[in-house]
Symmetry: C2
Subunit: 299 residues, 2 copies
């Protein structure tokens, strides 16, 4: 998708890759379906723990391959995400809302012979997520830059791989919430940081970056732009208003990063061809719809 | 656009025509650009009064043809809609928020030689809006039904004309808010009703149906399904959630009408191929974005 208004405003040519329109509403289906497609025919089923988009994507991918998907979710998971896993054919197993309980819950399924498919720190997943940038590069010749969100690092690592194998020289930048900047700090420190207390509305980007994801980013020289919460919300509003696309906060962060980068170095960006990955559009719209209800009764 | 989930839920095949992605974010650009394209080269400029999507669409259409657009708007018009007219190249002239002041304001421009382009009760506009259904019929063979929103009646009249000239037999149904059911009452009475006190969140559908619009609906046997406010909001939520498309309340009403119709007569709709016109996506997203701000500061 394009937006003439945003091109004018930012002085570059922007190409949006719309993963909110992907199966299950986020790029996560790419990695999940790739991982599932590599399983042995004898596989009993797949399992994961998830409180987000990966669970629903894995459920759908398993369903496509005639496999069951067991998704361990914390009791605290929001109704909306639980429904998404079920709508896509997965079976939800609640556990206590601790990392330990989630891992124990998953282990029980693995011990029964189910294949664990982790959300990002996995070569099959990274390769699958890379198909998003591969498509973008095919669809848009002569891209100068691709910006993708950074959470656990599956999408950004796959993007870096895809850009590295393309003919042109495409700069890959990550976009990370300032309140969950573990990747920026890890890149600066040269190793994965321990301290990580994510504080951001971009719930898809709260995970600590994975080990192999960080290594791929280091290998391909990916840099990260951090953005504050206000900029993320502003970018989300721009995508809703100008593209008429429902994206979640995590989904809009690549645009937020570009807006920050252009504000700081307008000349560097002038006339550049920039690919932005809108990574997903899964949010609970009920609170938004409710903003209309008082008006409905008053009028 | 399609939605497997909605097809399953309603038992028919639904084809969404996405006018929220049209230039200026609604179908209104179709009629406006058609009307402007028919003007004499000597035309000094165009003028209208509008508090909605027509003003912005006319401004953009005039701009495409190198003409100025003078848009008379009530002082009470929301900031969002004023901005849309200006963003699309129109000049806004505020007047008192009365029908008389709006008409007086417009007359002043017409007396100076500007061409008045009304929003719906106009053959050029109706023909232009009809191009939406023409495209839908070309894109989707063997449609059984098309459902379109009814406000002033430009879109529904154009849709009826387009369906009448198609090879198949396509039923055309209008979708109207129960709180602004002047068209349903007019069709029942056999003449345009006088009493009209619209009470609906679907701000694009508050106008009293136009004379020629009503005549075309009568001529082609268009029937109207009315829907209450809750159903409109529910349908809007479904479009946001399942299609990831930002539609305004008026834009979602065709789906709301289908949901009501299927609930009442499921057998009649089983397996039908139904075209739904999502008429626009212009809404002020700030209140929606603000629902995220408390979360942003708390976390």
């Amino acid at each position: 998708m394009r937006s003439h208004a945003l091109d004018q405003q930012l002085g570059c040519e922007i190409f949006f890759k719309c993963e909110q329109l992907q199966v299950t509403g986020s790029f996560k289906f790419r990695g999940a379906s790739h991982a599932v497609s590599l399983l042995e025919k004898s596989c009993k089923g797949v399992a994961t723990h998830s409180s987000g988009n990966h669970g629903a994507a894995l459920a759908r991918a398993a369903d496509h391959h005639g496999l069951s998907a067991e998704v361990v979710m914390p009791e605290s998971a929001v109704r909306f995400k639980v429904d998404a896993v079920r709508r896509n054919g997965g079976t939800v197993h609640f556990c206590e809302a601790t990392q330990q309980a989630r891992e124990d819950g998953l282990r029980a399924w693995v011990e029964q012979g189910y294949e664990a498919i982790p959300p990002y720190d996995d070569d099959r997943i990274i390769a699958g997520q890379g198909s998003c940038a591969l498509e973008l590069i095919e669809q848009v010749p002569d891209l100068d830059v691709i910006i993708a969100p950074v959470g656990g690092g599956g999408l950004i690592a796959g993007t870096a791989l895809a850009a590295a194998r393309s003919k042109g020289r495409i700069l890959v930048l990550g976009a990370e919430p300032a309140g969950a900047d573990d990747t920026a700090r890890s890149l600066a420190a040269g190793r994965r940081v321990d301290r990580h207390h994510p504080l951001t509305i971009a719930d898809g980007l709260r995970a600590l970056v994975g080990e192999r994801n960080l290594k791929l980013m280091q290998r391909f020289g990916v840099e990260v732009i951090t953005v504050d919460e206000e900029r993320i919300l502003d970018a989300m509003g721009q995508v809703w208003t100008l593209l008429k696309q429902v994206v979640e906060p995590s989904g809009a962060i690549a645009l937020a990063a570009l807006i920050r980068a252009v504000a700081e170095e307008p000349d560097r960006w002038k006339g550049r061809r920039v690919g932005l990955i809108l990574s997903g559009g899964n949010l609970d719209v009920d609170p938004l719809i409710n903003t209309y209800r008082p008006a409905a009764s008053e009028q």
